[in-house]
Amino acid sequence: MANRAITFREIEGKGGFYALLAGCGVFLLLGAYAYFQMEHHGHVITGMDNQIVWGMPHVIALFLIVAASGALNVASIASVFGKSIYKPLAPLSALLALALMAGGLTVLMLDLGRSDRMIIAATHFNFKSVFALNVFLYTGFFAIVGAYLWFMMERRMNRWTTAAGVAAFIWRLTLTTGTGSVFGFLVAREAYQSAVLAPLFIVLSFAYGTALFLLTLAAASALGRLSLGAAVVQRLKNLLATFVAGALYLVVVFHLTNIYFTRNHGVEQFILLDGGIITGVFWVGQILIGSLLPLLLLLLPGRPEAALSRILTACVAVVIGGLAQMYVTIIGGQAWPLDLFPGYAARSSFFDGEIHAYAPSLVETLLGLGGFAIAAVIVIIALKVLRLLPEKLDDATLDPQQAKCTAS
């Protein structure tokens, strides 16, 4: 039953298609407006300053980039690990990965102080810098996943799909390691400087990517007026639960290890107990909504009719938790002051020795949301012009053997 022919089709674009596209387009325009304001006036109009140098744009951009790598999961499981049930969904998975990466990278590049110097960034490289390596990893991601998508969709190139899938799989693990290492390699700040950040980011990417993929699949099937089969959703649900649990485990290990070191007691107490908004975002956003609630929704049995809505709620919760995780990592890590003189309390005109506050401004939040809009617009348009989705998404088409079993 290896090569059952499934017809792929563009969606017709009826119903709410253009309204949704227009809605995303509004956020796209707002993001562009925000960028031009920031570029013209400088970062003085944002909430970022010399203490919190990376803010909302980076929180959202890094979330999108980490999720992009994970969105390729379904395609990887199909091509690399040979689970044929996922093969019909692989093109959508690859496209989503490209779209999310485009959104995240755009926000990152537009937030640069000198965003007119992209050519400099692309021609001058300091190879000891993880950022410079990431430039290659991110552009390579576009090339490799683009080729992978093409191989999947072009019949005469289908025989190269597995090779491209393996290459994409290895590449995105490297890429996510690079992203985690951006923080892991910083020895200066107590909240970072940990080798576990790289594998943590990899497991986070699995969770965020799968959650976003499920949401996109549900949205695409609704837009294309296709009914979504329960079998593949069930398997993705179990996969997502595994990844969320894995991410929670690594977060616990990270914090437990930090708590063990006396010198890190300050920063851990700040994040876990008395950091105000950071603590709130950590416990409520990252742990409760982002990890515990999804596990409950995904693993506890409930009414079968409401299964899909439970799963989708869990996915939204994972996304919220992901943004919270990025917020705690990026903002929380910067809010805690550097300890230049251990054992001394410091005061200065440059905010030494005090917790750094951060209030995101509207412009930088709009810029970040523009990243989501870019990803959404790419996916929506691609669904309409490319043959990404199978003609039917029901169990009989996606997993005939399973359908036969349940039927008999």
Binding site: H41, G42, H43, V44, D49, N50, Q51, I52, V53, W54, L112, G113, R114, S115, R117, M118, I120, A121, H124, F125, N126, K128, S129, V130, F131, A132, N134, V135, V182, F185, L186, V187, A188, R189, Q334, L338, L340, F341, G343, Y344, A345, A346, R347, S348, S349, F350, F351, D352, G353, H356
Partner: protein, 251 residues
Amino acid sequence: MSESEQSGRRAFLGATAAAAAAGLGFVALAPGMQLIKFAEAKAGMAGASSKVRWGMLIDTTRCATGCTDCVTACATENAIDPGSGRPGQSSQWIRKIELKEQSTGREISLPMMCQHCADPPCVDVCPTGASFKRADGIVLVDRHTCIGCRYCMMACPYKARSFVHETLTQQNPEVPRGKGCVESCTLCVQRVDKGQEPACVEACSKGDHTAMLFGDLNNPTSEIARRIATTASSQVRADLRLDPGVRYQGI
């Protein structure tokens, strides 16, 4: 394809090709670029040398609480003004830190600026190589190449770097600074290259505090080298093994 259509197509292609060839020929016949070496530096013009390593020694016992002469001097020399943004967005290349030892209550005051490490983390993480260390040990930002990503600000263990948040117009001609780039203490490289000492050091000695000393760490006969070799001094966050060029006495 009919006969007339074919010949029409050929005529069209021929006309366009002729126009394109004429255009290309015009460009090629125009005088080409020459590599002119006229305005290059003459051989032997002095530059930075690795024989020298500039450093500073700060005696915190002579540094007075509440005195900001060094900060004022730096702001004057490098034309740094607070700007129109929030206080957190103003550039500060040097700052006075007031310390209080938590177990004993002892108070210390000292200036903190870029430590000009021998192994700077800011240089390691800069994606374009804009953050670099000159041969004589001064760590600088090449603002022609800086893209304003602020990764060096995340990486600096001394929080020495500032980001320029808005357009500047009142720069000192010898100290170019601009919006969107990261900057930090340059050890007054424009003065050092003329044989002077940094503005903060000069202000401190003019004010009779003499808490700051500047000199060549590699020259065993310089006052700073002699003082470091005889009296105890320490580097901030020495456990990071960055070997800063700025040392402190009395911490």
